[in-house]
Amino acid sequence: MTAETTLKPRMVGQAIKRREDPQLITGRGNYVDDIKLTGMTHAAILRSPYAHANIKSIDTSKAAAHPGVVAVFTGADMLDINPLPYAWQAAGVPNNANGPRALAHEAVHFVGEGVAVVIAEDRYIARDALDLIEVDYEPLDVVVDAEEATQPGAVQLHENAPNNIVFEWQCGDKAKADDAMAKADMIVKERIINQRLIPTPMETRGCIGHYNGGTDEYTLWMTSQAPHVHKLVLAAFVMGIPEHKIRCIAPNVGGAFGAKIFMYSDYPLVLWASKRIGRPVKYMEDRSENYKQTTHGRDHITDVELGVMKDGKVVGMRVHTYANMGAYLSTASGGIPTTLYGRIITGVYDIPAAHCLVKGVYTNTAMVDAYRGAGRPEASYMIERMMDRAAVELNMDPADIRRKNFIQPDQFPYHNAVGLLPYDSGNYEPALDRALEMAGYANFRQQQAEARKQGKYLGLGISSYVEICGVAPTAWVMSEGWGAGLWESANVKVQLTGKVTVFTGTMPHGQGVETTFAQIVADELGVGYDDVDIKYGDTANTPMGYGTYGSRSLVVGGSAMKKSLDKIKEKAKRIAAHLLEANPADMEFADGKAFVKGSPDRAKTIAEIAAAAAVGANLPPGEEPFLDATSYYDPPNCTFPFGTHICIVEVDPDTGRVDLKRYIAVDDCGPQINPLIVEGQIHGGIAQGLAQAMYERAVYDENGQLISGTLMDYAIPTAAMVPHIETDYTVTPSPANPLGVKGAGEAGTIASAQAVMNAVIDALAPFGVKHMQMPATPENVWKTIHSK
């Protein structure tokens, strides 16, 4: 027994509580709306009540004369602000792109589009003055449905987009897919609608613009998932401000789910207005505005065909999708229904021939862009629904048809038929087996049959999914139409007293990055967890990075930090060697010490080395003072988390109500830095995915009015509406990054909608139901039963 080798307990792998939470849940967070600047004014935006209209005139004189109003501006005043750019266009095809302006000029294209802004001493005055603005609109025809918008005779939104088509993009091999379909024993077809959703973060969006006339600098406090990207886009594309003269700060951000990645009209608007009036300008959306103008998600109409053989083997797949893009092309929207959807339609299955055609379409609705999962939930829902559909036609067990078609472990790295980068690693069957075991699948069919005899309708739904996280490398994503990088950065400083500060280019807003990154640092450098701080959100002191979305913070940002930590350790070894008069090549670093190989007593602790480095009086020749390292990491590939979810439901045929009886999730996100945080991400993701299956639906009427425009109409689930979630995990590390991690932020959402819908449809099998559209509201279920 070697008594002296007591290793410090490792922090990585421990389910510790998030260090972010005490501050937030005790009301001591600092959100944009908590910030008050001296002389700050308040903006209220007049929004179009029409979904499509020409603006004939705007009279702002009464509003401008209202006591307490500082200024009123319209779109005509702001023509020096460029239309917002589209950073991700569908690749390799023409994009008939149109971006919104800071305020609409001459025409409006959706209900809620900004038409004029009032800037006033307080928010109440600003709001009152909106009622005094007179706008003369000439209403035009409206189209809200993406398929209808492409039909002859549909009203045209933008001159450069005939038939309202933004792009027609395809992937896969059409001839090969057609050939495979022709040879298939059976073709299973379905129209699958993935309804529009509204992201609904707890905090709405907002910003404060502050122009400093003394330094000619702009500062923007904002609800952002990607402040560096916002800074870059505002400077280079929207406002033409030199990039070093603009600083973006994201303080605490109260949820986002994708919707806070993008450029919005109000960001340049407050900066521009602040310069004009010489005072800071705050704008905060209310919930109604958030619902009307912040981006929505999903909204696909898809016709899909699977070619299957009698033994259950899927040999071909053809997909045709109308993707509703809304009234303009939002920042990243071109990539969502293309790369992040089309290229993963075959899911976890080895389908040799596939083709996908996507039409991106303008309609008179809010812009659609990434929402938790972004493209992958739509793909995953479609293929998993179709596997069940095929199983029913073949009278095959839904677990068996999945097993039959899974990509096998020896096929990785796996190239799918629709041109995605190779799936990095995977082993799909153990997750399916474990989920089936947890669900008691061996006995379920018998229970189901007995329950049916008693008039009870039980159903079980399986969803085996794969997704794409940490989208990279940059060169590939650019070839897919994204207009910048997708690498990530981290700066690590070990201070004189041995405390560590990390500046990350990511922008966590609920992911727990402060906790997980500190866990990694504690282990890597052998310092106390509480001696590590993770900083983010301010472009003035963090290295350029692309922000937090697409489950990339740990995968890409954590890997950048790992590189910096390695550099710190290398430098620490050199300095320790110098202090110990040892050969640098003989040094090792472990457990918080640099020591001479084979004689662990000849060691310097990281604190001693940090002090020596920070003082800098006794360093190796040529060595710079201070333990400080910055790294940028561009992964060689994306990561591909996977798993199987199972839902068990009971349907009340009298009312159509669905009771979620059990929910089982077996996920593989690689090694877990903090299992508690993974669990939380999985739970939250599942809640959002099952909400799509059960409750949520953004509805526009034929005039383009958002009739699900309040939280009294749009049903996001409460905790009481989400069942107990039973989880387990398999662990298959990713070879695509030094941590082996894969990301867990979106998995729950990507996996869950189809687990629920497959269960509901399974429950309704005795009524002859083979498919129904989401959400499975009581009315929808009841009508489905009664239409049979």
């Binding site: 209310d286 919930r287 009739i707 009294m712 109409d713 749009y714 049903a715 996001i716 009315e779």
Partner: protein, 286 residues
């Protein structure tokens, strides 16, 4: 979500409140729990120059059970759902209000406010119809009592006259042979009723001698179901009799249709929930 400006008054007596109502006329509004009024003002669906907050009028609060049941207009749902006296004499009411919204709504919302507002999807109106309640009001002309059957006149409209305030609601306690129950299909977002059915039955000598059914959520206002009630009276209250009677629910009723539930579905649910409420009411009456 930013209301327009208003003047705020907090009288301590009913008389003061009535005179303020008279003084400000159409521009004035009573503020009770605020859970219907304030959302409408924040969305600027309605704007009022003067809010008369009656929370400080203590005589409007409280539950009194002796010969009959009297509930002050300003009694909150929370007070009702936690009242042992009501659980013992009129269990349907605490049960029904425990299904209103969420705990925050129940801590603020009041029975008087609910009836005065006459939201077509509110729960209390259906229960009040089934229990044949009386609404007591005070106005410029003094006090009067309105039978609940005459109270709801249309969507968001009642027979309250300008300047009148609801002071209390009275009910008869349920005795032997009587039973009442409420069955609700809540809206998943708002928790309001998409359909709510309140049923009261009296059994005498093994036969249903009286029946009242109130339906809310489905139409422009909460309504009694005369033909379903008539179909049950005189029967033995068996499952079959209930099922038959429930088939008449919704007859002669205007039924709403919206994105949450179309007319066909609401009509079907009126029957299902009537059946469920009647079944539970009969069970209790036995």
């Amino acid at each position: 979500m930013i209301p327009s400006s208003f003047e705020y008054f907090a009288p301590t007596t009913v008389a003061e409140a009535v005179s303020l109502l008279q003084k400000y006329g159409d521009d004035a509004k009573i503020l009770a729990g605020g859970h219907s009024l304030l959302p409408a003002m924040k969305l600027r669906l309605s704007n009022f120059g003067a809010l008369i907050d009656i929370n400080k009028i203590h005589e409007l609060r409280g539950i009194h059970v002796d010969g009959n049941i009297s509930i002050g207009a300003m009694t909150t749902y929370h007070a009702i759902e936690s009242s042992d006296a009501l659980k013992a004499t009129c269990a349907i009411l605490p049960e029904a209000v425990s299904l209103v919204g969420d705990i925050q709504v129940r801590n603020r919302g009041t029975l008087g406010g609910s009836l005065a507002h006459a939201d077509p999807a509110a729960d209390p109106p259906a229960v009040m119809l089934a229990l044949d309640a009386h609404v007591h009001v005070t106005g410029p002309g003094g006090n009067r009592t309105i039978a609940i059957g005459d109270f709801f006149t249309d969507m968001l409209t009642t027979s309250l006259q300008p300047g009148e305030i609801i002071t209390s609601i009275t009910l008869n306690p349920l005795g032997a042979g009587e039973g009442a129950a409420y069955s609700k299909f809540p809206h998943p977002a708002s928790r309001y009723a998409i359909v709510g059915a309140a049923a009261y039955v009296k059994l005498e000598g093994g036969k249903v001698s009286a029946c009242r059914i109130g339906i809310t959520g489905a139409g422009p206002k909460a309504e009694r179901q005369a033909s379903a009630e008539a179909a049950l009276i005189g029967t033995d209250g068996s499952a079959e009799a209930i099922a038959k009677a429930a088939e008449h629910a919704g007859e002669n009723m205007d039924v709403l249709s919206d994105i949450h539930a179309g007319e066909d579905y609401r009509r079907a649910m009126i029957k299902v929930y009537t059946r469920r409420a009647l079944t539970a009411a009969v069970e209790r009456a036995r």
